[in-house]
C-alpha cells in the first residue's frame, strides 16, 4: 500500500499531508500536525482520552485510519478557544476543580463540547451517558459531571 495525501480541515485550518498506510487520525494530529492535546491512552478506543470531533461527532481518534476521513472537519481542544481565552466548558472545568492529573481532560472537554452543541440543556443522566466512554482515574467523575452541567448553564446564559 502506498502513502496517500490526506486533506483535513483542522480547527478551521486547511491541512494537507502525506499519510502512511495505517496512520491513525490521532497519530496524524499528534505526530504530523503537532497537535498534542488529544492523548494516546489505551490506543484501542476504550478510554476516550483521544476523543476529537469529526464533522461534529466525538470519535476516539486512535481507531480512525486518517485516510478514511479525508476531507473531514476535525476539531481538537487546541481549537476550542484559539485566542487563549477559555470557553465555557474549559472555564467550568477549571473553576469547578474537574481536573487533577489532566490526562483525560482534553477528551472529556471535546466529548462535552459535542454534547452541548447538540443538547444545550442536558440532564445529569444525559451528561453521564455522554461521558460513559471516557475514563478518569483521579476525580471520581462527580466534579466532571458537575462542570459539564455548569458549562451548559454558563453557555445558555452567555
Amino acid at each position: 500500500m502506498a502513502s496517500k495525501i490526506v486533506t483535513l480541515r483542522v480547527n478551521d485550518r486547511e491541512e494537507e499531508f502525506l499519510a502512511r498506510p495505517g496512520t491513525t487520525l490521532l497519530g496524524a494530529l499528534r505526530d504530523t500536525l503537532g497537535l498534542t492535546a488529544a492523548k494516546r491512552g489505551c490506543a484501542q478506543g476504550a478510554c476516550g482520552s483521544c476523543n476529537v470531533l469529526v464533522d461534529g461527532k466525538p470519535v476516539p481518534s486512535c481507531l480512525v485510519p486518517v485516510e478514511t476521513v479525508d476531507g473531514a472537519a476535525v476539531a481538537t481542544l487546541e481549537g476550542v478557544a484559539p485566542t487563549g481565552d477559555l470557553d465555557e466548558v474549559q472555564a467550568a472545568f477549571l473553576e469547578d476543580f474537574a481536573t487533577q492529573c489532566g490526562f483525560c481532560t482534553p477528551g472529556m472537554i471535546m466529548t462535552a463540547e459535542a454534547l452541548l452543541a447538540e443538547n444545550p440543556d442536558p440532564t445529569r443522566a444525559e451528561v453521564v451517558e455522554a461521558i460513559s466512554g471516557n475514563v478518569c482515574r483521579c476525580t471520581g467523575y462527580e466534579p466532571i459531571v458537575n462542570a459539564i452541567l455548569d458549562a451548559a448553564s454558563r453557555r445558555r446564559s452567555a
Binding site: 478510554c47 481536573t99 451517558e129 467523575y141
Partner: protein, 340 residues
C-alpha cells in the same frame, strides 16, 4: 429476588511521611527582577495539587499575592533534593521547606526595603497586595516590583532563601518498641450505604459519607477533591478492580480497559464529605498529609455494609457478584459448586 440495603463503617489513621534513614526535602526561592518569586523544587506534582499548596505557603510567608509565586519543579537534575512525593509527605515536607526558604527571603526583602525607604526593617510589614510598608505610616511604602528592581540594579542584592525540612531517622527503643516514625497522623472515617441484589450478586454503592481530620486544609476544595476521588478509587478496589481475579491462578486476568473494570460516570455514589481542621504542630500552617489514605476506609466500610445488608462476610477483594453469590449460597447451606 430482593435488593437488600445495608450500611457499614470503617475508620483509618494514616501517617504523614515515613521513617527513612533521614527524610529531607529542600526548597530554594529567589525573586526575579520584577518581583516574581520562583520556588525551585524537584518534587513532583502529578495532579495532587502540590504546586498550588506550596505556592500558597510561599505567598503567605512572604506576605505577597499568590500570583507573585512561580513554582518551578520536577527536574531532579537541577532542582534541590526531594525524597519524592510518596508516603503522603509532599504537602508536609515540601510545604515546611518552602516556608523556611520564604522566611529567609522575606527577611532579605524587608532588609532591602529598609535601605530603599531609609527606615528600620523591624518597622516594616507586608500588606498582602504587593506592598511593603512602614507599620503605622502606611503612606511610606514600596511595591515589590519596584523593590525587586532596586535590589537588582541599585543595591546589587538577591532576595532569596534556602529551606530544608528534615525528619531525622527514629530508632526503636529496644525495651519498649517505642519510636517516632512519622510527623503526624491524619484520621478519617467513611460510612457506606449499599444495595445487594441477592439474585445477581451485584453490589451497588448508593452513598458514601466521609469525615477527615487533616490538620489544616490548606486548600479545602482540593482536599475535598482528594477525599472524593480517593473514595471512588476505594470503591473501585472494593467492587471492581483485579488483575488476577482467581489468584494465585492467573487465568482470566484482564488485558485492557474493556476487561479491567472500574466504575464509570454512571456508577458513582452520592458523596458527602466533611473536613475537620485541627492544625498539626509540625505541619506547614498546620497541614497533615492525606494523599494515600483516602482510598482506604471505603473498602472495609463497603465490606461491612454488605455484611449488614445480607449477612455475608467477604474478605477477598474485589467483592464481585460471583463472590457475593457464592457466599450467599454458603450462608444458606446450598453450596452448589461443592456438588459439581
Amino acid at each position: 429476588m430482593t435488593r437488600l440495603r445495608g450500611r457499614g463503617y470503617a475508620a483509618v489513621n494514616y501517617p504523614t511521611g515515613m521513617n527513612l534513614g533521614g527524610d529531607p526535602s529542600q526548597a530554594l526561592i529567589h525573586a526575579t527582577t520584577t518581583g516574581t518569586f520562583v520556588v525551585s523544587l524537584s518534587s513532583v506534582d502529578l495532579g495532587q495539587g502540590l504546586k498550588t499548596v506550596v505556592a500558597q505557603c510561599a505567598a503567605e510567608t512572604l506576605g505577597l499575592p499568590f500570583t507573585n509565586i512561580l513554582v518551578d519543579t520536577a527536574d531532579t537534575d537541577t532542582g534541590p533534593h526531594c525524597m519524592g512525593t510518596f508516603a503522603s509527605r509532599g504537602t508536609h515536607r515540601v510545604g515546611n521547606a518552602v516556608i523556611m526558604a520564604a522566611t529567609e527571603a522575606r527577611a532579605i526583602m524587608l532588609d532591602v526595603a529598609a535601605e530603599e525607604l531609609e527606615v528600620d526593617a523591624a518597622d516594616l510589614e507586608t500588606d498582602g497586595t504587593g506592598y511593603i510598608q512602614v507599620r503605622g505610616a502606611e503612606a511610606k511604602r514600596i511595591h515589590i516590583t519596584d523593590l525587586a528592581l532596586a535590589a537588582h540594579f541599585t543595591h546589587g542584592r538577591t532576595i532569596s532563601g534556602r529551606g530544608v525540612f528534615m525528619k531525622e531517622k527514629s530508632e526503636v527503643v529496644p525495651e519498649t518498641g517505642e519510636m517516632d516514625p512519622d510527623s503526624c497522623q491524619a484520621h478519617a472515617c467513611t460510612v457506606a450505604e449499599v444495595e445487594v441484589d441477592d439474585e445477581t450478586g451485584v453490589v451497588e454503592v448508593l452513598r458514601m459519607y466521609s469525615v477527615y481530620e487533616i490538620g489544616r486544609a490548606l486548600h479545602p476544595a482540593m482536599a475535598t477533591q482528594q477525599v472524593e476521588g480517593g473514595a471512588w478509587m476505594g470503591m473501585s478496589h472494593a467492587l471492581f478492580e483485579a488483575t488476577e481475579p482467581y489468584y494465585p491462578v492467573r487465568d482470566h486476568g484482564p488485558a485492557d480497559f474493556s476487561e479491567y473494570l472500574m466504575p464509570a460516570a454512571g456508577d458513582i455514589p452520592e458523596q458527602v464529605s466533611v473536613l475537620l481542621e485541627r492544625p498539626a504542630p509540625t505541619g506547614p500552617y498546620g497541614a497533615k498529609g492525606i494523599g494515600e489514605m483516602t482510598a482506604n476506609a471505603p473498602i472495609p466500610a463497603i465490606a461491612n455494609a454488605i455484611f449488614d445488608a445480607c449477612g455475608v462476610r467477604l474478605d477477598h477483594m474485589p467483592f464481585t457478584p460471583e463472590r457475593v453469590l457464592r457466599a450467599l449460597d454458603s450462608l444458606r447451606g446450598q453450596d452448589l459448586s461443592a456438588h459439581g
